[in-house]
């Protein structure tokens, strides 16, 4: 075997090991969720779907899932609306201080999430928004808007402004030209941004945990609290459901819009 082929094989072995490392916790959770034991154990002893039926029959979990979905949906709609408009302004209109605006729009990505969380906790207490859905939704829009802006600006930069210009020349108004020409062209970027926003909101712990009021609970914070309370296979079961949903969602997104281009 030549040195070059040996190197290629070593590289492949390393890559395979790292992919194994990346998938290890995922596989372990999935296995543990089928165990008959009441404590978490891998490899599983026996086979049961008990933990899945337990989690899906648990009113607290169902409420948390519903609340998380609603919050993520509202946050995504807000972030996409504000984000697409802002991206369009930054790329197509020469706004003075555009660099500063775009730095500001990206700031919530750079700031530690826990700092955003505690800052909002204090601020909402002062303006009496603490424990409200509106406050929580605003917080989630702030942390998701950068993802929308990033994906949509990337898409906008890839299309020719002359196309929209042509529509204007042919008599279309600004909004008509945007909705019939530009928006269909940047749809993959908008879809990727929306998907990012939804996932980031749905997964968030470090902001939500400081802002949830009485009777409010998101799924990740519920799992977080359950783990701190004590580990058992029902947590593995709900985690397995999330693994399957994430996997399916990602595969669909890749086939549909070539998701990896926007990461």
């Amino acid at each position: 075997m030549t040195a070059a082929r040996l190197r290629a094989w070593l590289l492949r072995v390393w890559v395979a090991l790292v992919f194994g490392f990346l998938m290890l916790p995922v596989v372990v959770i999935a296995l543990a969720s089928f165990s008959r034991t009441s404590y978490l154990t891998v490899p599983p002893r026996g086979l049961t779907f008990h933990w899945f039926t337990k989690v899906l029959g648990d009113a607290e979990y169902l409420h948390a899932i519903g609340f998380s979905l609603l919050l993520a949906l509202v946050a995504t709609v807000g972030a996409v609306g504000a984000g697409v408009a802002a991206s369009f302004a930054l790329i197509r209109r020469r706004v003075p201080g555009g660099a500063l605006v775009s730095a500001l729009l990206n700031a919530p990505l750079v700031f530690p999430a826990v700092v955003v969380g505690v800052a909002l906790l204090q601020f909402y207490a002062m303006v009496h928004l603490n424990g409200t859905f509106v406050g929580l939704a605003f917080a989630h829009m702030v942390i998701t808007v950068p993802y929308v802006v990033r994906a949509v600006t990337a898409s906008l930069q890839g299309i020719d402004p002359e196309l929209e210009h042509a529509a204007r020349v042919l008599g279309a108004s600004g909004p008509i030209a945007f909705f019939t020409v530009t928006l269909p062209l940047i749809r993959p970027g908008v879809a990727a941004g929306a998907l990012f926003a939804f996932i980031v909101s749905f997964d968030n712990v470090p902001v939500s945990i400081f802002l949830l009021g009485a009777g409010q609970m998101t799924l990740p914070v519920k799992i977080f609290a359950a783990i701190e309370y004590g580990v058992d296979p029902s947590i593995a079961a709900i985690s397995t459901l999330l693994i399957v949903l994430t996997g399916v969602g990602l595969a669909v997104a890749e086939r549909w819009i070539g998701f990896h281009r926007f990461v």
Partner: protein, 281 residues
């Protein structure tokens, strides 16, 4: 007119950021100088004691040092583990490349609490790692991997590896293959080509990937909290306890602002460094 419409389009996003980001973060500055009296609460007055305590008390200095040490080792380990993977994904002609990239993205999209939970199952006293080590005869009794540096390093390497790999793929793809071929034609060995051509040309990616992972690791809350518990503290878990357990908002604000300053300083310095070397990160 065109300027005007630009601002109207920016208005919703800017208003949102003002109300739910700029103002709240700004309000932390005055809050961090207010005195907190136990059993009374936050009182009027001015004190800088939460800052002096943070920067002089050995308890806090240890936590700050641990946070930075963890950030540094996590960054280094993701770089070492991830570089060959990024190199492979950037260069492979395989038609599976996009799907392999998605496999790197998958853990990133998977709920962080779920990933951390997987590591609890792996690293516990009777977890899979200890079972494997015992079966292989490496250790006699279980190794302690939770609530300490080793466990956090392993789990956080897993959590932040995708970021490093994705940034490095982009950087390595930008290197023209001709430059490497030229070095080989001129007689350089593979090793010397890699060390003197490929590696330096991917430096912008290494820099931006490292800054990203470092910043994310020193800000991380969920993984350090669940794997470190309430005793093995880092800065973000300290802030968490200050706000939710001790209810000392002024002290927590000072800690949060220090963490923010550290993060912003790093981002700023790396930007300057990238510009000075003429590299675009």
């Amino acid at each position: 007119m065109r300027h005007g419409s630009g601002w109207w389009l920016l208005a919703p996003a800017l208003l949102l950021l003002l109300v739910a980001f700029v103002l709240p973060v700004g309000m932390m500055v005055p809050m961090s100088f207010r005195p907190y009296v136990p059993l009374v609460g936050i009182t009027d007055g001015f004190t800088a004691r939460y800052y002096t305590r943070l920067l002089t008390d050995s308890y806090y200095l240890e936590i700050i040092g641990r946070t930075l040490a963890l950030g540094f080792t996590v960054t280094l380990s993701t770089l070492i583990v991830g570089y060959p993977v990024a190199f492979f994904l950037a260069r492979t002609p395989s038609r599976w490349r996009n799907w392999l990239t998605i496999l790197v993205v998958f853990p990133l999209m998977l709920n962080l609490v779920v990933r951390t939970f997987g590591w609890i199952a792996l690293l516990a006293q009777n977890g899979l790692v200890n079972q494997a080590l015992h079966a292989l005869g490496v250790v006699e009794s279980p190794v302690k991997l939770l609530f300490n540096f080793a466990g956090l390093l392993i789990a956080m390497t897993h959590v932040f590896l995708p970021f490093m790999v994705l940034v490095l793929i982009g950087a390595i793809q930008n290197i023209p293959r001709d430059v490497e071929d030229a070095a080989r034609v001129l007689g350089a060995s593979w090793g010397s080509t890699f060390c003197r051509v490929t590696l330096p040309l991917s430096a912008p990616g290494i820099l931006s990937g490292s800054i990203l992972v470092f910043v994310l690791s020193i800000s991380a809350l969920v993984t350090p909290r669940l794997l470190g518990g309430p005793t093995y503290q880092v800065m973000s878990t300290l802030i968490y306890d200050e706000f939710l357990q001790r209810l000392n908002w002024p002290a927590g604000s000072a800690q949060a602002l220090l963490l923010t300053i550290m993060v912003l300083a790093l981002v700023y310095l790396s930007g300057r460094l990238a510009r000075r070397t003429g590299a675009r990160a």
